[in-house]
Symmetry: C2
Subunit: 594 residues, 2 copies
Amino acid sequence: MSTYTAPLQDMRFVLTELAAIDRVAKLPGYEEATDDLVEAILDEAGKFAGGVLAPLNFSGDQEGARWVDRAVTMPKGFKEAYRQFVDNGWAGLSLNPEHGGQGLPKVVAAAVQEMWKASNMAFSLCPMLTMGAVEALELVGSEAQKATYLANMISGEWTGTMNLTEPQAGSDLAAVRTRAVPHGDGTYRVFGQKIFITYGDHDMAENTIHLVLARTPDAPEGVKGISLFVVPKFLVNADGSPGERNDAWCVSIEHKLGIHASPTAVMAFGDNGGAIGTLVGKENEGLKYMFIMMNAARYAVGLEGLAIAERAYQKAVAYARDRVQGRAIEGSTGSVAIIRHPDVRRMLMQMRAQVEAMRAVAYAVAAATDMAMRHPDPAERARQQAFVDLMIPVVKGWLTETGNEVASLGVQVHGGMGFIEETGAAQFFRDARITTIYEGTTGIQANDLIGRKIAREGGATLKAVLAMMRQTESELAAQAGLASIRSALGQGIAALEAAGGFIVADYAKDVRSVAAGAVPFLKLMGIVSGGWMMARAALAAQAKIAAGDADAFYPAKIATAQFYAAHVLNTATGLAQEVVQGGASALALDEAMF
Amino acid sequence: MSTYTAPLQDMRFVLTELAAIDRVAKLPGYEEATDDLVEAILDEAGKFAGGVLAPLNFSGDQEGARWVDRAVTMPKGFKEAYRQFVDNGWAGLSLNPEHGGQGLPKVVAAAVQEMWKASNMAFSLCPMLTMGAVEALELVGSEAQKATYLANMISGEWTGTMNLTEPQAGSDLAAVRTRAVPHGDGTYRVFGQKIFITYGDHDMAENTIHLVLARTPDAPEGVKGISLFVVPKFLVNADGSPGERNDAWCVSIEHKLGIHASPTAVMAFGDNGGAIGTLVGKENEGLKYMFIMMNAARYAVGLEGLAIAERAYQKAVAYARDRVQGRAIEGSTGSVAIIRHPDVRRMLMQMRAQVEAMRAVAYAVAAATDMAMRHPDPAERARQQAFVDLMIPVVKGWLTETGNEVASLGVQVHGGMGFIEETGAAQFFRDARITTIYEGTTGIQANDLIGRKIAREGGATLKAVLAMMRQTESELAAQAGLASIRSALGQGIAALEAAGGFIVADYAKDVRSVAAGAVPFLKLMGIVSGGWMMARAALAAQAKIAAGDADAFYPAKIATAQFYAAHVLNTATGLAQEVVQGGASALALDEAMF
């Protein structure tokens, strides 16, 4: 089965040249993130991903998580791999040192998470969900809750889940019906059914800590009446050990298109008297807490798009080098490896260029997150946070849409073998398909982008980003060899400016027409952001070459950036046209006529 | 599970207004294809597709074809459905009346095939392959072969297969190694293994007639040494009944991403002394025969892209009407069906507009096929055949690429439910994925398009098509209400002209760079052809409205054409840029650097 090799050189290049890890490492609290430590962490994570997680990816998919008698058994090898993951200290990498985390910068954690997700996306979801639950408890948990749960969750001994969705409440949490009834002793009894609960049950850890959205009696209707509760699978004894089994059960798992090794549970709370839980934070503030955590969760799913694309690219390259089929189009004495065929080459470049652009955008946003949290200057923190808020829906939406496209190209490079499950390319294609859906569909990201992130502030942050892009464009002017990149980036910036201006101008006037162009706008913003980063990458590579660095990585980076300009940025003008001119026709058809 | 309703009104509209079925029905031999008969056939086919085939689509996928002891058992219900299919006379619809076919025009058969493929793609592959084998035997079979096989194959009592691929010979048939040794009695003994053989074995018919590419002893190397053989599963007795079992066995079937009910066989010929076969046509001419049949096979796979898209669209519309989730973006008193959300509406329109454009292109090409075969004027036949030859790779490549896109949008409309296999949307997404691969990948179609169909003739047929498109563009000038369509079509035509001109000018000079843009060019050509047809559709609808026809179908057609102009044709200029400017960067990266 296919292997995975962490793309360490590109990761380091992006961290150093585009995500300013040197500046991040100077932030208060990150002093330990020295070059040497980061280097060592990336190396070790690459070994763990390639050596332990990647070999379980295909077998995990084929075997799948199994549900018997209200309990989930993980596929062969997962329990042991998770044990190693915990023992090696990977669970708490970027988490709070106060409770045992290592407190490394988010931007370093992003590179490491990319590796987990690329090597075994189904596995990676368990620590990802745990991290989300940890952050919620750190943020708004009581001291007692923190003392009870955090240390074991940060170490990874216990895992966490997020219980939001119900059958009638998917994207719309206003419709949540799960009830939480005060028991008079400070605890609540939780009753209700939750669906789509990732790792809702499994056998890799001794306890699972559920965070559950529910309504207290007499809570107001809609989103204003939702509270957050912590409901452990096993109640925790006074000595901190897992005790009595709580009334929270996995009553089935879903039969899904992909991520078969990740159990997607239907959870029943309170079928036998009530699941015991405690309120997290304040009553009726549950949705607010969810929103605070949402940036991290959406960012992490965005990384999945990048990660699967990288894995699909590696597999496609290996196959294209290996598979001999047909003569070269310009003539050849014998058959050639298909990597020689121009269309296969184009597909590989399309995969590669988008992977590199996605990585650059993702790490740059992670670095900004670190800046936004830790920079000593409040104005700089605010500026960085605004950039992060603007870019989160782009990272989530564009990286996952592109991840799907790249995974599909990976199947295509394999020809007929791509359709055969044993080849493994199809798994990436199946696994990727959830990423544009969960943690908010692309449409939801796009509405967030144009509404809360752009229209609401009159496009201020977007304008600041456009100015930074223009700055890069002008830096390209001095480099004759990068003229095609400059021209395409200029086109892209103009397109983004036009479409962004339209959104700001028309959002209040005709929100439906503008919203009909939300997803094309999100794609446009992703593509141009990627082009901006690839242009910066080309400039950095050019500088290395000019300084005498002979590493072939740098000319390759420039070639990839030039490809991106001609084959990805070329779509920007058409997308802007669609945003500006397409709203009315998207809504014109009478509903009855569909 | 989801239903399927044949889109009869749009089919009739396309046949009448865009595919000139009135002219087809006047061709010699098609006199019986009266309006009434065509109407009755479409009605009945729609009932069979919706009532018999569609209900087996999901169960067939879940159960899959099963292989035990060198024989394949079809999923529950398939055998009975196939019996009905044969009894109702569907197998020979467009086949030669001389051997029992009904001899209906290809354009009528196209509409009917769309229904089989939309209702149950896995089922439809069996009659499709049989039809290909029938056409080969009709074309170059001996009288004895025709007498032995044709009547039973045209009736559907026996089915047919095409055995081309071997592990080392996928797209490159030059590498075929299967041997055929003369036995001295006019028969051959065939030895070798074939893979990816659709319906290589099954239990729906009493005999399976394999057409097999193989090399005779001392045949020249490469494609010039390939001959075609007919190898029945059961040898045929003198009285025409199936007799002794031949040495052609299904030794396994593939575990695939989709079309699970369609058995994809590994066939072993001659493991027990030699499979008895007879030569079809002349020795060493096998590849030529394959090429002659290829147009029909590629066309039929193109229809699969359309058909799955139609089915995915119907399912998405039904879900979007039914699923209530969230408030309207402009505000609403309660939750609304998601069809109200602008982005869901945009997705449904993107699906619908592309389905309608694909159907129009596909049927227009089918009508041209009828004209090319039957028109009394040889010059007109040649003109129509040139159009067909040009468009076949577009129908195959663009319809299947678009079918994948539409099936993926179908999943997206379903949100989280789309990822759950029980919903059924994921099946369309999985099934569609093979269509851009088999019968020649999109890359192979695109090379055929730019090389053999455009560059080789200096772009003559393309220019003729562009002139027809310009004609439609000028007709739009008189219709103020269609101005946005005219503008977008004009942009599209200009883009296609520029990219086509580049291909003609540069193909001989720099074939690798031009070939790197082959797939973007194919997509461009598909998109602009679709835009041309949608513009013609809008004109026809406008004429109906002007004539006082109050059917809501016509304003809906115009709205859909306007959507296509703003949301699909808008990509044309960017694609042309990619073709003209993108070749060098696609090939620039050193092979070792991937």
